[in-house]
């Protein structure tokens, strides 16, 4: 799309202004909650800021897309769709990179601000998640690295098992 012609000098950049503020900033507070006997059963943390990009293969390009994503942290997010996640990238960088790389074979949309990823981990993580999702998270059924689209507490979530006792919940 046409960049508007530059005519004036950029507006003054106030450094702090560029800092991203997590939508959960006021919710995800440090501290211990719930039953306070023994070691914590689960711990929550917000992975922020992140770069998150949806990649959807164009007609008949599923394989090609899958191949070109091999070098990324690309999580299954539906038929021939992926969430590509990366930390420490500057604003829009991952999006622009993938858009260039997948030009013509996939649609790329930046969701870095649209989704937030919550890391849930601990020995009781499966018991806690079972209160939300109908997906069977038993290790035999849901191995590390596997992702699922499901619902929790009336909200759609993208669930990824990132470790034996650790899951990422990606929500709008």
């Amino acid at each position: 799309m046409p960049k508007a012609p530059a005519k004036t000098k950029p507006a003054p950049v106030v450094e702090s202004m560029l800092a991203r503020v997590s939508p959960l900033a006021s919710v995800a507070l440090q501290g211990r909650f719930g039953a306070d006997k023994g070691a914590p059963g689960v711990s929550f943390s917000v992975r922020h800021p992140l770069s998150i990009v949806t990649v959807i293969a164009r007609a008949g390009k599923g394989k090609a897309v899958a191949a070109s994503l091999s070098s990324y942290d690309a999580q299954w997010a539906g038929p021939e769709q992926y969430f590509v996640v990366a930390a420490g990238r500057s604003e829009g960088a991952l999006y622009r990179e993938l858009k260039a790389e997948l030009d013509g074979i996939a649609s790329v949309s930046d969701q870095s601000h649209g989704r937030v990823i919550i890391r849930v981990e601990g020995p009781k993580v499966r018991n806690v998640l079972a209160k939300g999702t109908s997906v069977d998270l038993h290790t035999d059924e849901f191995a590390v690295g596997k992702s699922a689209l499901t619902q929790m507490a009336h909200v759609g979530v993208h669930l990824t098992r990132v470790g034996e006792d650790a899951f990422d919940l990606s929500v709008f």
Partner: protein
């Protein structure tokens, strides 16, 4: 009072004494007691009053099927009506009240009902209370209603928490008696994921109640051993206090776990109950069998109970039902009660056996063969019995056994019907397939050895079944014993609903011969116990009365819930403020800082107005409008649905979705679009911008965002699968704000990077990719909903608040104001833009004055059906403007339109007002309306009829555009 606590035995912990109150009176019991067993141990038999006749009642059973001993447990917000004393685990500080009596349980006025009771036959109320007509609602019904119901529900909010959870397993075992334990053991040993659920407080089933011997140890010790092995296995989940209440499609079982009902109050962070949805590859129903009462006179007098219940009270709870007992039975299990009671040192007067010759072991108790109890004497307690041969025996408790009914409920929840079995004299479960197996006594296997073997077989998922332990079998021989006709007094079938044996022949006589009709006419089986005890007796009596077999009569339909479930368990955490998720926009904090008032719009909280000191919503919204139209205002429009549409056929796809065309839209431009349903009615609207040849971003209304997305998915995947297009919601990625007013350009100019804004660089309907504040990526659209020179600016959500604050700074010199949804809505009504009120799911494009948008050059959803005569009829109601004749008059949306001079009537109804606002620009009420043939009626004076609010004024129909008809301000 003398104690009925047996000196030794029982599964109670005599070391811990618990205090409790019943009807205000203090008692003590022991850990392991139920409220019922503790009361019995204290010699209290009178625990409740019956529904219709207010008869004094005590326990009939020792379990979940209890129809009589229902109490109000706890107080305040925790008060629970109709709670079974037989299922309440005793805890220290327990308080309970008896129900359905006044002034007291002991002296209950309502008992006079039983005097005129002979008039209160089944269905009597269908036959009377009809005259005089007005009396029904004023007099009869209020009386009936007050009499109805048993317990009183609390009106205070429940302070406790509830939880929901899913569970998955290879085998769910329902019931933990010998059958269930063997099934669980077999499955667990073969490595399967096993869940063992039992509604009782302790696993073991009837092995806790009976004196059995298995593998040379007591049944109890054997059970303990198995439970210990199971609890040590990681693949096994043991769930005591968990009732499986229903079987649903996909072999999904509903269960409720009473996590904290056995304590005074749950500890913080712990739920009262947990609702489980168990997805089981296979399940075993090992629910056992239920003993049946017998219908004889006074079979409800406190002290009369099931033979197995009397055993359970003695064996499990060390509580004696009486000092001198008579057993009445038609099968061998009565003998067991006699022997057990004798072993506990309770005097057993006699066994009354309806059968002639039987050699069951009476353990030295005298047996009266071929005899029956006709009537029990006593009022609030048993004093004796009269046999069918009129001989009288004194006693203070009666144990009865009419036979056994397999507990088949769950197996029948999906429609299958049980069938009658003449050897066990009970209805046995139908075969419902390999995923749900009925085993043990629930399957009609009444011998312990059969149960053990059956359970092992049912639970074996792979490999060999475990060895079957050796045991001694109690004889099981039974013959029919339903109703003792010689009875003088009332012989109850459904204790709680007070339906008596005689009601059934009466129902048959009156034509209610089908068991389902008889049930409804006599209310048999409709009380809280759902006829667990009495239904089979009712079926037998009806069968006799109508000369049909048990199978011909059949059972009534088994339905969830096996036992009643608290609403709270189903609601779980989704109550109060957490009923539904709360969605906040990326600009929420910014709006909050500025004192916004937020209002629910679907799940969203939207900033509706920004009141200043002393302003109400109208003053605030009006000021926001004026300021915006005179200077500049900023509004949060982030809730609009935003969908990223890409691919080489993106344009073609949008052409199918919208009635107007998008493939021709120039890159860098936006266009308003209108979407129809396939039936030709308007579905949604919004602007769509073309960011690149193969890239559009469309916006939907807030309300329809999700629906439109689903519609696109269907259109693409099911209707037009060959189109090479992708679409994904990016609603949450962008914080979007409308900046409107004469000073909007000057304001935005101050924060954009490297762009001289003018009508060439940012023309009307432009859609540009820019950046603001030195590097924040942004999308700038020159769009206007307000009719002012206006823009919409979108920035990535995490920058939203910060950018909005920056715009407030930038606009400060121009006197910028934040405006909310109210002001937004006033301005759109001033401009005659249609919205929710007009897009009501019944209006066509033409109705809304947008007919010209409907392309004639392409196929699109809704095109053909929009052409139906009824949808193009000129008499249809279409969108117009409406104003009061007198500028000071008020009009309200929802008011209807009548032609001058017409009387109010539906036939004369011309339409109604869809939206109204008080316009600060025109200083009067203005509105939009849907009026029959409205476009031809501009200028017509009509009645604005609001009879609902007692308000009628004259109004005039006008053009929908109330303000700045020439759209000068848009391009100013």
């Amino acid at each position: 009072m003398t104690s009925y606590r047996l000196p030794k035995g029982g599964l109670i912990d005599r070391a811990t004494t618990l205090n409790f109150k019943f009807d205000g009176k203090s008692f003590t019991g022991h850990a392991g007691d139920t409220l019922a067993s503790a009361l019995i141990a204290n010699g209290v038999h009178l625990m409740g009053r019956s529904f219709k006749y207010h008869r004094p009642r005590g326990v009939i059973s020792a379990g979940a099927s209890e129809p009589n001993a229902l109490v109000e447990l706890r107080e305040g917000g925790r008060k629970e009506a109709n709670t079974r004393a037989t299922m309440i685990e005793l805890y220290d500080g327990l308080t309970a009240k008896s129900q359905n009596r006044w002034p007291s349980l002991d002296f209950d006025i309502g008992a006079i009902n039983s005097l005129v009771s002979s008039m209160f036959v089944a269905g009597f109320y269908y036959k009377t209370f009809m005259w005089p007509k007005s009396f029904w609602e004023k007099i009869y019904e209020p009386i009936i209603r007050r009499a109805a119901g048993l317990g009183t529900a609390s009106r205070e909010a429940d302070p406790d928490k509830y939880e929901k959870s899913y569970a998955h397993c290879d085998l769910l075992v329902i019931g933990s008696g010998p059958t269930g334990l063997m099934a669980a053991l077999a499955a667990a040993r073969s490595g399967g994921r096993v869940i063992l659920a039992d509604e009782s407080s302790r696993l073991g089933g009837s092995l806790l109640d009976e004196r059995e011997e298995i593998d040379g140890v007591s049944g109890l010790e054997w059970a303990e051993g198995v439970i210990a092995e199971l609890s040590a296995m990681p693949n096994v989940t043991l769930m005591p206090r968990a009732t499986v209440f229903g079987w649903y499609d996909g072999n999904i079982f509903g269960a409720v776990e009473r996590v904290n009902d056995h304590v005074l109050a749950p500890s913080v962070h712990e739920p009262r109950q947990r609702y489980w949805r168990i997805i089981a590859k296979r399940a075993v129903l090992a629910a056992g069998a239920e003993e049946r009462p017998v219908a004889f006179g006074g079979n409800d007098i406190p002290g009369v109970m099931l033979a197995s219940a009397m055993r359970t009270y003695a064996n499990r709870y060390a509580a004696a039902a009486g000092k001198s007992v008579v057993v009445f039975t038609g099968n061998d299990s009565g003998y067991r009660t006699a022997r057990d009671m004798k072993a506990h040192g309770v005097h057993v007067e006699a066994i009354v056996d309806s059968r002639g010759g039987t050699k069951a072991d009476a353990g030295g108790v005298p047996v009266l063969r071929g005899r029956m109890i006709a009537d029990v004497s006593g009022g609030k307690a048993v004093t004796g019995i009269t046999l069918d041969d009129h001989t009288h025996l004194a006693c203070d408790a009666v144990a009865m056994s009419g036979g056994w009914s397999p507990v088949v409920n769950l197996a029948c929840h999906r429609g299958a019907k049980p069938s009658w079995n003449d050897t066990i004299l009970g209805f046995v479960a139908p075969d419902v397939g390999k995923d749900f197996i009925v085993a043990g006594s629930a399957a009609g296997r009444m011998l312990l050895s059969e149960c053990l073997a059956d359970g092992a077989k049912a639970g074996t998922l792979k490999g060999r079944a475990p060895a079957i332990p050796k045991c001694r079998d109690e004889a099981f021989a039974v013959s029919p014993l339903w109703w003792v006709r010689q009875a003088q007094g009332k012989a109850f079938i459904d204790y709680q609903n007070d339906s008596i044996a005689k009601d059934l022949p009466l129902a048959a006589r009156e034509g209610y011969r089908d068991i389902e009709l008889a049930k409804r006419y006599t209310t048999t089986g409709m009380a809280t116990d759902q006829g667990k005890l009495g239904n089979v007796n009712a079926i037998a009596i009806l069968a006799e009365a109508t000369g049909r077999s048990m199978d011909q009569v059949g059972t009534t339909t088994f339905r969830p819930f096996y036992t009643p479930v608290a609403f709270g368990a189903f609601a779980g955490p989704f109550t109060g403020h957490h009923f539904q998720p709360v969605r906040k926009t990326p600009l929420h904090d910014w709006a909050d800082e500025l004192g916004a008032v937020f209002v629910e719009t679907g799940l969203w909280m939207r900033s509706s107005w920004f009141p200043r000191e002393g302003e109400d919503w109208l003053a605030s919204a009006s000021r926001e409008v004026v300021a915006t139209r005179e200077r500049v205002g900023i509004c949060d429009v982030s809730t609009l649905g935003k969908i990223d549409v890409q691919g080489k056929d993106a344009g073609a796809f949008l052409d199918r979705l919208y009635c107007n065309t998008f493939s021709t839209l120039a890159v860098g431009k936006a266009r308003y679009g209108l979407m129809l349903r396939e039936d030709g009615v308007v579905y949604d609207d919004g602007t769509t911008s073309r960011l690149a040849e193969d890239h559009y971003v469309m916006t939907t209304t807030t309300a329809n965002a999700a629906k439109v997305m689903a519609q696109m998915e269907f259109a693409h995947q099911a209707l037009f699968p060959d189109l090479d297009v992708t679409y994904v919601s990016v609603t949450e990625q962008w914080a979007q704000m409308a900046i409107a007013g004469p000073k909007s350009r000057a304001t935005i100019q101050k924060i954009v990077d490297g762009l001289e804004m003018n009508d060439q660089t940012v023309p009307y309907m432009a859609a540009l990719d820019i950046s603001v504040l030195g590097g924040v990526p942004a999308r700038l659209f020159r769009l206007s909903f307000s009719g002012e020179h206006a823009y919409e600016l979108a920035v990535p959500a995490d920058y939203g608040n910060m950018v909005a604050r920056a715009i407030m700074q930038a606009g400060a010199e121009f006197g910028i104001v934040p405006y909310g949804v109210e002001a937004l809505s006033i301005m759109r009504i001033e401009k005659g833009h249609v919205a929710g009120g007009e897009l009501n799911g019944t209006t066509t494009a033409a109705d809304l004055g947008l007919g010209k948008m409907m392309s004639t050059k392409k196929d699109y959803i809704g095109r053909v059906m929009a052409g139906r005569e009824g949808l193009v009829d000129p008499q249809r109601q279409c969108a117009v403007g409406i104003r009061p004749m007198n500028a000071d008059d008020r009009i309200r949306s929802g008011a209807h339109i009548l032609t001058q001079g017409d009387k109010p009537s539906m036939a004369n109804d011309q339409g109604y007002i869809t939206s109204v606002a008080w316009s600060p620009m025109l200083e009067m009420c203005i509105g939009l309306a849907l009026v029959a043939n409205g476009r031809a009626r501009h200028g017509e004076v009509v009645q604005v009829w609001d009879g609902l609010r007692g308000h009628k004024v004259e109004g005039v129909i006008c053009d929908p555009v109330h303000f700045d008809k020439e759209n000068r301000r848009l391009h100013a």
